[in-house]
């Protein structure tokens, strides 16, 4: 319970966000929208970490550091993914996952 907000509420918000991300990951075909779904998934995990940290262990900062590192990894992942997407676009002139069935070698 944090100032009248129970931990369960945070967890349920995070869960819904996570599975909406999963749905988008499965349904979308455009590579950039798939990347956006991945960002949703990573964000929902961050909410859980932070809420657990504040409500169950208010004297520690572990959850906050995990979120911090997840954000950094997400930034690195997004930059590399977008470089790959632009490279694919240059080769194939579209970024549909279903039309990508060739690798370089």
């Amino acid at each position: 319970m944090f100032e009248g907000v129970p931990l369960t509420w945070f967890l349920i918000t995070g869960t819904i966000m996570f599975f909406v991300g999963i749905y988008g990951f499965l349904v979308r075909k455009n590579l950039i929208t798939i990347l956006m779904s991945t960002e949703l998934i990573l964000n929902s995990v961050n909410i859980n970490f932070v809420a657990f940290n504040k409500i169950l262990y208010p004297d520690h900062l572990e959850g906050m550091f995990f979120s911090l590192f997840i954000i950094a990894v997400a930034a690195a992942e997004a930059s590399v993914a977008i470089a790959i997407i632009i490279n694919i676009y240059r080769r194939l002139v579209n970024i549909d996952v279903e039309k990508m069935d060739e690798m370089k070698y």
Partner: protein, 170 residues
Amino acid sequence: MTPNQLMFAIFSAVIIIFSILTVTSRRILRSATFLLFVLVATGGMYFLLRFNYLAAIQLTLYAGGIVVLIIFSILLTSHIAEKLEKPEMKKVIPAFLAAAAGAVITIATILQHTFPMEAVSMSERTNIRAIAKSLISTEKYGYALPFEVISILLLAAMVGAIILAKKRKD
């Protein structure tokens, strides 16, 4: 309803509604804008929990950096007015069932578990000095090694992105 509950309800509603719009909108640029709203609301949730430093990082790095990067790549790879084609039903139904089943199972498990209910005091903001000390400390609860590893990861990602995206000679 306390002010905190009200703020939580607003942020939570924004997160849920706009994340659903993000994965269902057929205009890709709008989809990216909805993602921006979701990320800002998440930052608000960190503010609500008094993690001011993390909220600032969220706003600058996620909302400022990643969304701008995504919008740039959208503008490079597709037309603004272009609409994505409708996903076909034989993909939508299994995906929806999988996501709904996962959500139902997880929420049922969360609701069954009883978390300790003692109220957390209106704790002071996270101390920025404590964060900085933990990030360079090598003792218990110190994060010096992950900090160094993440800096190497960022460097590798930067070099990799440049090499991948640069123009080939041939």
